[in-house]
């Protein structure tokens, strides 16, 4: 089945710093989704990327889909304490209804 690797699994940053997390697949993806789960909360959809090389921005968050559609990145500029949580990428498995989640990247922010 489709596997997707997220790196790093943990990230601790100082407030105001930038950081990037990555999601890598061994196979070409039709699309990739990103979700955020706050501590004690539930996953919330952030964005979906479909086109090769696509870049989308949401305020301080920049999402990118690789040219080969095998990887994606999430870059956060000037991290704030409100960014704390676990970020998941999710990819469809084999064109099916199934969405497979990466293991997540847990972000903590030092104020």
């Amino acid at each position: 089945g489709q596997q997707v690797m997220q790196i790093p699994q943990y990230q601790h940053v100082q407030e105001g710093e930038d950081f990037t997390t990555y999601c890598n697949s061994s196979t070409t993806l039709s699309n990739i989704q990103w979700y955020k789960q706050r501590p004690g909360g539930h996953p919330v959809f952030l964005i979906q990327l479909v086109k090769s090389g696509e870049v989308k921005k949401q305020k301080r968050l920049t999402f990118q889909f690789g040219e080969a559609k095998k990887n994606s990145s999430l870059h956060i500029t000037a991290t704030q304490t409100t960014d704390v949580g676990t970020y998941f990428c999710a990819v469809p498995q084999g064109g099916s209804e199934k969405l497979v989640f990466g293991k997540g990247m847990k972000l903590t922010v030092n104020p």
Partner: protein
Amino acid sequence: DTAVSQTPKYLVTQMGNDKSIKCEQNLGHDTMYWYKQDSKKFLKIMFSYNNKELIINETVPNRFSPKSPDKAHLNLHINSLELGDSAVYFCASSQSGAGRSGELFFGEGSRLTVL
């Protein structure tokens, strides 16, 4: 109005008991899911229903039985609970199949603790 609602939010029970979790969505979506999130935060799909029809059934012990009385409801019944069943169970829905560009809307989760 809560889009995807689950009950109960917390469930503490003894090993060997049977319990159910209910889920309802008012988004008019066709597809509903159950995901399990363990203590390491791994999110794994368990089941998916499309308009009351089971379309995804992962390798889950047959102690777990989903039931969808209509497309707005998806319940999860667990028999003979084991310690390893302790987790947060999330219900989710999507307009189209999640694998086909349909974003998932998650419920708030049901935290099950088996003692």
